[in-house]
């Protein structure tokens, strides 16, 4: 475990967030590939095996269906499993469980069975892993009623959202962003919980609302700094933190103040979460808008390998600045 005061890295926060819940509740257990002795391929479960033992931190075979299927069965019968799917791309190997089993058990049974289950997974690009290890796929999960979706951007939120996810009696997918693992931030106090479905206004502004999630939050913040310094534009940045439940109250209140909206998503533009949020703003807050909305998202191509090519495809500070200027100058 990392030191107990000061700052903590995002990757350490994952293990710390899980450990805090495992200490609190003996029914919280982990399972996944390489999560035990190896401490996770991203070192996000380091120290858990040592502290909690092999009975609560289980290394599994490469069996994505069995991992989430067993986690589901355990969740239905009194355990709070935290299952790791190593890279979010591999969620496709257990898509049946995400799309058909986990989100439907409570509903199909008429409320007879609860599913307190967390699936955590390393999402997104930035590490040069190529098209099958770099996708941002939170929008896959967004299409399925019955899953809750958290995607923290700071170490404190990793800990707070992990606590809420593990305590939730509903299934939650926690998308940890690979590009953020090395970032650092303040270590939150013991007992820190971030309620699912509460967005955070991480920078106040007057001229435009910029919505971001996970790794696009620092991108949006950097863009906001540059917009203020170079263009005199005051951008409000909102970290959505969760896609389901979706905090439309915070979004609409912000748009009411700024009258302009830009979303910054890492998932591909086609079918991305920004489309859903924008449609709600248009349906419910059309009269609040003084300019067309803009979505900055990844291009509709698989993630290319080369850094320069990946940068061509994903949202960058330059692209966010350009999008904001286009709506502010409208």
């Amino acid at each position: 475990m990392a030191e107990l005061t000061g700052t903590i890295s995002y990757r350490e926060a994952v293990a710390e967030g899980i450990a805090r819940e495992m200490r609190r509740d003996p029914t919280v257990v982990c399972l996944g590939e390489d999560i035990g002795a190896a401490g996770g391929v991203f070192k996000t479960t380091q120290g858990l095996l040592e502290e909690f033992g092999a009975e609560r931190v289980w290394d599994t075979p490469i069996s994505e269906q069995a991992i989430v299927g067993a986690a589901l069965g355990a969740a239905m019968t009194g355990i709070r499993p935290v299952a790791e799917i190593m890279f979010s791309d591999f969620l496709a190997c257990c898509w049946d469980y995400l799309a058909n089993e986990i989100p439907k058990v409570r509903y199909m049974s008429g409320g007879q069975v609860k599913v307190p289950l967390v699936i955590r997974t390393a999402n997104g690009g930035g590490l040069g892993f190529g098209a099958q290890h770099s996708q941002a796929v939170e929008n896959w999960a967004l299409t399925i009623p019955g899953l809750k979706i958290a995607a923290p951007s700071t170490p404190a939120d990793v800990i707070g959202l992990m606590a809420a996810a593990i305590r939730s009696d509903d299934p939650v997918i926690v998308f940890e962003h690979k590009g953020l693992f090395a970032s650092r931030g303040p270590r939150p106090p013991e007992g820190h919980v971030v309620e699912l479905g509460r967005a955070a206004v991480v920078r106040e502004g007057r001229d435009v609302t910029v919505l971001a999630l996970a790794a696009t939050v620092p991108t949006a913040l950097a863009a906001a700094e540059r917009l203020a310094a170079d263009h005199g534009v005051s951008a409000e940045v909102i970290d959505l933190r969760c896609l389901i439940p979706l905090d439309m109250t915070t979004v609409l209140e912000s748009v009411a103040r700024t009258s302009r909206l830009v979303t910054v998503e890492e998932n591909p533009h086609q079918g991305g979460w920004g489309g859903t949020v924008v449609s709600l703003v248009v349906e419910e807050g059309f009269e609040l808008l003084d300019a067309p909305v803009r979505r900055v998202a990844s291009a509709n191509v698989p993630l290319p390998f080369a850094d320069v090519l990946e940068n061509e495809v994903i949202p960058t500070v330059d692209r966010v600045v350009a999008a904001v200027r286009s709506v502010v100058d409208y």
Binding site: Q65, G69, L72, G73, M76, T77, N100, M108, G111, Q112
Partner: protein, 336 residues
């Protein structure tokens, strides 16, 4: 054993078998009712009737404790009733009534009776096998000696989840029993035409280092005893067992299937091996008078007739029910 002890054992066995016979008769009559109600336009969607498979559900249930967990497929009426789900609630579910066992939100393919440890019927072939592994894992973590059972068809043995589940269960030595109901057909395709081994479940167990049994799935006593052995192994920490029970379905795969693809001699031979007929013969062998068996049949008929009447009279679900039970708070709100 003394002669009187033998006689007492026979009486006890006769009483237990008669109870199992009656439960099988209830299932058979419920399936017939579902079939008739379907033809009358009162059952919507589809049904996968389990007539012919009763001995597996009832025999297994007799070997299990009330607090054990079972998981079944879309062909799960028999398991739900074997675990204590009422025919009335099951038929009401099929008829889309408010009193349905899943409040009319599950349907024939998703019958669930959590109170009886029946944790659901799953319509994606093979999906529930890892879930049973998870329930077995949970029992170990919670320091109970509960076991979990997954019932599945022969067709499920060729899907990835089957293999992942078997391997995980065995490597963790979990208290789970896998019961393959091999009725020789997937939907319309004979299993032997798509599987290179004779016994699609049993023959693969050695590849996972797993104990296995190949049994007659139409003899309720044989099933009960095999599942009892497997359950004892599981409770003793000796790990999972794979049971392949040979059986046959009396109807087609689902309500739209007249099952024309099955050779007449094959059907005839299997109908002679009807689990109810076999149980009757065994009861006679144990000295249970025929009148008592007929009486059990009569009770089963009465129960199911009353269930049909009640289900028919029940109201449709309140429309607001569409928006409950998604989340733990009871609702379905995805945004604020």
């Amino acid at each position: 054993m003394s002669q009187s002890a033998v006689r007492e054992a026979m009486v006890n066995e006769g009483a237990e078998l008669l109870a199992m016979y009656e439960r099988m008769a209830v299932i058979r009559r419920t399936e017939k009712a579902a079939y008739d109600l379907f033809l009358a336009g009162l059952v919507k969607g589809t049904t996968h009737l389990a007539a012919g498979h009763e001995a597996i559900a009832v025999g297994a249930s007799a070997a299990l404790r009330p607090d054990d967990h079972v998981f079944a497929t879309y062909r799960g009426h028999h398991h739900t009733i074997a675990r204590g789900g009422s025919p009335e609630a099951c038929l009401a579910e099929l008829m889309q009534k408010a009193t349905g066992i899943c409040k009319a939100k599950g349907g024939s393919m998703h019958l669930t009776y959590a109170e009886g440890g029946m944790l659901g019927s799953y319509a994606i072939v093979g999906a529930h096998l890892p879930m049973a592994v998870g329930a077995a894992w949970s029992a170990r973590l919670l320091r109970t000696d509960r076991i979990a059972v997954a019932f599945f068809g022969d067709g499920a043995t060729n899907i990835g989840a089957f293999h992942e589940a078997l391997n995980l269960a065995q490597v963790w030595r979990l208290p789970v029993v896998f019961v393959c109901e091999n009725n020789l057909y997937m939907e319309y395709t004979p299993i032997r035409s798509v599987t290179a081994v004779e016994n699609p479940a049993y023959d693969r167990a050695p590849a996972y280092g797993m104990a296995a049994e190949l049994i007659d799935g139409n003899d309720v006593i044989v099933v009960r005893d095999a599942v009892a052995r497997a359950a004892a192994r599981a409770r003793a920490g000796e790990g999972p067992t794979l049971i392949e029970a040979k059986t046959y379905r009396h109807y087609g795969h689902s309500r739209t299937d007249p099952a024309k693809y099955r050779p007449a001699e094959e059907v005839e031979a299997w109908l002679k091996r009807d689990p109810l007929t076999i149980a009757r013969a065994r009861l006679a062998g144990l000295g249970v008078p025929e009148a008592e068996i007929d009486e059990a049949d009569r009770r089963a008929a009465e129960l199911v007739e009353a269930a049909v009447r009640a289900a028919k009279q029940a109201p449709p679900p309140d429309l607001a029910e569409a928006f409950t039970d998604l989340w733990a708070d009871g609702g379905a709100a995805w945004r604020n």
